[in-house]
Symmetry: C2
Subunit: 601 residues, 2 copies
């Protein structure tokens, strides 16, 4: 079986760096201990090895396909969904009272990370089903929970989120899908939804769409959007399933994730599509945000998982492929020694360490965000603190692994040279698959607006302040360890740059020049993302250094040393790029506003 | 017809920035004037519109395919090759005495740029045919020229270059393909060659392979490599074509350029494959370098062309797609105005200008290198000067458009959001196609070794010094124009950084620590490439500024202002990143040598 993730690193990050056992002391999670969690993850890893990885390439080569009103996906999907239900994956983080395992979301994300590294075309089905079920459980009338959720968590039924429409994309103000109230309290739904991941396939007994629509007469814009449950098949009073006028109009053919269907759905073309209102009218977007926030973490996780798989594939190639010579003094080639393994070439090592630094740093960031999420919901006395941190990290956790994950996979493919471009090798599939991550759930541009335009300003800067205090705490810890002092100081040197950048930007916002204020939000995201991941690497370094000192037998010394080495790599090659980026953002020259005389031509 | 390049910009770069008319004064080119060259380019543009662009998407969707010993390509290829012959494209830069048009290579590259922007799956056939023919004309016995070249320049026969072998890739020292001398002066060829672009297809009457092999008993390594003409069909004394034991074993299926075949060829499996030695034995690599140097410029050109096409596709989308709202004071959305064209969003403009800055800068660099080439071959009294400049620029001209072209196309795809990932839109094809450019003709890592390990040290630094003097000359010119003074100074500020970086690196080379010396060659390439393109942008700026002053009626004022704006964009967003990169290279911390205790795991 090909390596696509590293269980030792995952354990190290979860239990040592992020101290998961401390979280397990909270009442909500006290049914679990380290051992039971490792057993759960091992079962997911076995399932991924046996069921997910073996069909990964095949799903790309024989993509999901629409014909005669139906979308056909890989025939193994049916069993896989059921098995995910049986393993408890779909309901992993649900309350026990809702039929779930009540595991920390951190563990749920770790499980999906493994599955996505094995085959990123599949876990979306379960993830969206869980997200849709969670919306029903959280905000809908209890009867809907009873009608839908158990069959969703078991893997028999699927769920989706239906936001995008052809004319609007991410512009939710312009949603046109309509809901007409009927006398029985239900609604008649009518409209088109596009880009619906997992939107239709032959192996779900039913598909429960969580759909945004506008009730007739609702206020304009996002304040007039309501959330509905719209099942593909209605449950009739005698419990049989009847057609609910949800038509599949097509399946988008894509560059990557080709095995994962992406439907165009038409609701109510025959005027008998029933929707059930979730919660109150016109509050749909605020409910949907729960699912969208979770989904943003999930997208980042997908990016990290693909980068992990690409790393191990290129590492294996570099360890087996001989080419070229080591270089001797004067640039002479070591002809006596003959061809060398390419892992001995410095540039190949650089590309390997870059991948490792990005994927492990990204994974650590995902676990960090999930830990904050878990603390928020399990430590009521302090939950605002954890919520602030999660709010700040969410757009970054979505974006960093997606954007830098592309860079990592690009380097992985490059290691294989011409073979990397060929379909016989897997790198090109990772390269195509990961490209969607910086688009899903709001593009990088949209996430960057959220970070700079909302999160930085939120609560008069308290969100940002709380985040920086966390980072400063880690820096102080790092500075006490001689091995990490320089690293901690390099991170500390970043903080005045953040301040100077904000001292430049905030007055622009205060003057009301919003477009100018956010015009370089994407660069701001790039630099802040790197700082946040550098902070993760310092945490990893502190943990590795402590483990080396205590000669912690749980991990090999070579693994711990490699973590410290990769930390240094990240600081030397990635964090050091930030200084120039911050300078760019601080430039007074504005070149990208629509008011400019010049325009692209 | 979709826009995929801009003739006005191409003309401006050729005739105004690079002063092609001055070159035409040289005797070699005096059959041409501006008008005749524009007519030639217009005929290429018309051909591209009519024959190349319309089948671009189709060639991706129905890729070249191997079956029953043959590779099947798009049926229009036959006519296209002949038409390229008729238009004089294949022999464009050949001497008239050799059957060519004797156009400057600069014009030939401009013509291929147009064709590649229209459909990058096709021009490689003609380009490699021309390259192979040029090798025969330059180094082989005149009888071979007569036997092969006319049919190649007419488009009836194709040519290839056969370097890579399965076990060796770019490691030419390890070539195993063998050549056994026969009594009649010919050789018996035996061996495998892979990744042979245009290596076999049904529409070439004959395919003339220029193949590297080792004559029995030749010295080990690259000093024992000879160059052979190995036709698919031998010309028998009665002029009929007979099988020459060249077997097609397969066609590599790829992530991109799927319409362009990439063969695995087996020579001499039945022991009757004849090869004809080119020039002297064991000098094959030095001959092949002619073709490889031209091919490196051609690969960069391909990157620039795809980036051009992607830019215009995303620009068109941004000018037609409405989504989101303009932002007002306090971050409020301008709901009154309703949805806006996405070109009005600053982040979309940033992505458009980034593409434009990269593709136009890359195109200018390609023309710059070709001008040096043309001067080298047409100005005998000064040709060493031009050769030094071309030597320095060749690896950069290959790499910058390939690497930054990826970034440009990535931004183009991103502008389309979810649609960018979908097969219905063309951006995803450009994204896949361009990925090969940083691998073809030596990966970015190999080009970077050439730049830092060879070119910088070459002739005791004279190559670098000559290049920097050229750049300094442009800076001095720029500083005399008030509109460009700041820009010129920003470029001048880069030069001490280059010096400081070399002051750090050269002593390491002198100490004989070659691997350490070149360990960050790829970063050095990144920074130097950006400087070279910034130099091109300053040249463009000087030309645009002068034209504005003289109110040159040949170009619109808005086009000229947009050039100045894009120049500033490049300096603000791209050149400004260099400072950090140079600092990274100057770090004393070495993390990527195989001697390190740590390793990727």
């Amino acid at each position: 079986m090909a390596a696509y993730f590293n269980m030792e690193t995952l354990k190290f990050l979860m239990f040592n760096v992020h101290k998961l056992e401390e979280l397990l002391l909270n009442e909500r999670y006290n049914a679990f201990d380290k051992e039971s969690i490792l057993l759960f993850l091992q079962s997911v890893a076995d399932f991924s090895d046996q069921d997910l990885y073996p069909i990964f390439k095949e799903m790309d080569e024989k993509p999901a396909k629409f014909s005669e009103g139906k979308i056909h996906v890989h025939p193994k999907i049916k069993d896989i969904l059921i098995k995910q239900g049986e393993l408890g994956i779909i309901g992993a983080s649900f309350d026990e009272s809702m039929g779930g395992l009540q595991l920390p979301a951190t563990v749920m994300h770790a499980a999906y990370f493994i599955m996505e590294a094995a085959n990123n075309h599949i876990p979306g089905y379960a993830g969206l089903t869980a997200g849709a079920a969670h919306l029903i459980s959280s905000f809908a009338d209890k009867k809907y929970h009873e009608q839908y959720v158990p069959n969703m968590l078991s893997g028999e039924w699927s769920g989706t989120m239906c936001l995008s429409e052809p004319q609007a994309g991410s512009g939710l103000s312009d949603i046109k899908c309509s809901a007409k109230p009927l006398d029985d309290g239900t609604f008649l739904i009518k409209g088109h939804k596009i880009f619906i991941s997992g939107g239709d396939h032959e192996y779900a007994g039913n598909i429960i769409h969580l759909l945004l629509a506008r009730i007739e007469g609702a206020p304009a814009g996002t304040k007039g959007i309501s959330l509905f449950i719209v099942p593909k098949y209605k449950i009739s009073p005698d419990q049989t399933l009847v057609n609910n006028d949800v038509i599949t109009a097509g399946d988008f053919q894509k560059m990557g994730q080709r095995g994962y269907c992406t439907a165009h759905l038409v609701f109510g073309d025959n005027d008998h599509c029933t929707g059930y209102l979730v919660g109150e009218p016109n509050k749909g977007l605020s409910y949907m945000f729960q699912m969208m926030n979770d989904a943003r973490i999930a997208v980042g996780r997908g990016g990290a998982a693909i980068a992990s798989a690409a790393y191990y594939a290129s590492l294996q190639y570099a360890q087996e492929r001989q080419q070229g010579r080591r270089l001797l003094s004067g640039g002479r080639k070591d002809e006596a020694a003959g061809p060398t393994l390419i892992i001995n070439h410095p540039d190949v090592r650089r590309m390997l360490f870059l991948q490792k630094a990005i994927y492990e740093g990204s994974l650590s960031l995902i676990l960090q965000s999930s830990i904050y999420h878990d603390r928020e919901i399990s430590e009521k006395e302090n939950n605002n603190h954890w919520n602030l941190l999660l709010e700040f990290l969410t757009p970054i956790t979505k974006t960093y692994p997606s954007e830098k994950g592309k860079l990592a996979v690009d380097n992985g493919l490059q290691i294989l040279g011409g073979y990397g471009f060929c379909a016989d090798f897997i790198l090109q599939q990772y390269y195509r698959d990961i490209r969607i991550m910086s688009i899903y759930e709001g593009t990088t541009g949209i996430q960057s607006l959220d970070l700079l335009g909302r999160k930085v300003l939120m609560e008069n800067g308290l969100v940002l302040k709380t985040m920086l205090a966390e980072i400063q705490h880690t820096i102080s810890e790092g500075k006490m360890d001689e091995r990490l002092m320089a690293t901690a100081e390099e991170l500390e040197d970043q903080l005045p740059m953040v301040e100077a950048t904000l001292a430049h930007l905030i007055p622009i916002a205060m003057k009301g020049e919003t477009e100018k204020f956010v015009s370089d939000a994407t660069l701001f995201m790039e630099a802040i993302g790197t700082i946040v991941v550098a902070w993760q690497w310092l945490k990893i370094g502190i943990t590795a250094s402590n483990a080396l000192k205590s000669s912690d037998a749980a991990f090999s010394a070579s693994m711990l040393k490699n973590k410290l080495h990769t930390m240094r790599f990240f600081y030397k090659y990635e964090l050091a790029r930030n200084k120039s980026i911050f300078k760019i953002i601080q430039s007074d020259e504005v070149l990208t506003l629509a008011e400019d005389e010049a325009f692209p031509d």
